[in-house]
Subunit: 229 residues, 2 copies
């Protein structure tokens, strides 16, 4: 028997209105999933009995980290949802010069906890049994210093000068970290700092991508070129 | 001097509150774009004077058609917006067995005209000077009979049996038509009809893609593998 976390118990009991005997699926967020049976429900929670293990969606062979600027309003929720669907292992939200939000305000608003709920819902929808790590909101400088053992790619807008690569120019890495800027793109200083810290400018096609869509396009592009599993 | 279409004139005058002398850009939807100056505005419209031609975003070398199931509510608006951003040349909306909408209802609601406005707004945002053709809503059977000279790919869900290809298994085509189903995927009959009509099942990774996101993922995957320009 296993206690269901309070959020999920509330969803089962109050939203889905399931009672004892209902068939459910349980996943541990680290890759394991089971058929299960709801055994008891109350206002305080729910208890399930685990049945047979299930095969959940395969994880990408390449380890993806998405380092992404926090966007205006709730737009980062959609980025988190899509990143989970694309199989990322970690998300590093950051605030940059052009960000309209501050890390302290995001922390007060418990934004990371909300993203974790969004990630759980997305994992259920896409059949994944792994939840990515969602790091605390950091400054861009901290993000640029991280993931030193991964292939580190900085998405730049079309027409940015200098040498840029596309995913198909790059050998399949063991791990990749993709940095994606805010609405309006990187400042020249930010891009120069990133390149100085070892990040490689990445370009994806000739059109300007919406900030909310860029992570999905970048992840899809990498996965199309490198092995999925 | 050139009259601005009524929709766009209203946007310039009433939303952006621009007056004579303002610098604007004009594009013809077929690949040409100019710097221009607003010369006269009235309640009825606006007149611009064309200046020097501008370089607009490059078009993909591969000709993309997106055949996409009309989704619930306004979700197809987002699909159109993203498809324009990804450089498609044509969009074929269709209704399938599982669709919750009917072609006649969409026509009464002038849905195609709305998608054309969404496409125009997206082209402006992403820097494209080409507007894709948006076909009338058709039945799936009509869509399956179309684009016979293109590489025709049918996006299928992970775990669907039979032979499936990924974009990187396929040589770069001159033109590709991507068919993407509704929420809940294709019925077995629909998938069999498509294969019978010469469409090739395409798979993209191991996780279930949200219906609204699948076109963006599929277009990004193809463009990552084939040449952009």
């Amino acid at each position: 028997m296993l206690d269901v976390p309070a959020d999920e118990a509330g969803h089962l009991v109050r939203v889905l209105r399931l009672g004892p005997g209902a068939a459910v699926r349980v996943f541990d967020g680290r890759g394991r999933e089971w058929d299960a049976t709801l055994r008891a429900t109350s206002k305080q929670g729910a208890v399930v009995e685990l049945g047979v293990p299930r095969a959940s969606a395969p994880e990408p062979r390449v380890h993806y980290t998405l380092a992404v600027a926090v966007l205006k309003g709730d737009a980062t929720d959609d980025v988190v949802r899509d990143a989970v669907m694309m199989g990322v292992q970690a998300i590093r939200p950051f605030v940059s010069v052009r960000a309209e939000v501050r890390a302290a305000a995001l922390e007060r608003a418990h934004r990371r906890e909300r993203w974790e709920r969004v990630a759980t819902a997305s994992a259920k929808q896409c059949g994944r049994a792994v939840l990515p790590v969602i790091h605390e909101v950091a400054d861009l400088s901290a993000v640029l210093a991280s993931d030193g053992d991964a292939l580190r790619l900085l998405l730049v807008e079309p027409g940015v000068g200098g040498t840029t690569a596309q995913p198909r120019d790059l050998a399949e890495p063991r791990a990749v970290s993709l940095a994606i800027g805010p609405e309006g793109g990187w400042t020249a200083d930010e891009a120069a700092s990133a390149v100085g810290a070892g990040w490689q400018p990445l370009r994806l096609g000739g059109r300007v991508l919406r900030a909310e869509a860029a992570p999905l396009v970048a992840l899809a592009a990498c996965q199309a070129v490198w092995s999925e599993t």
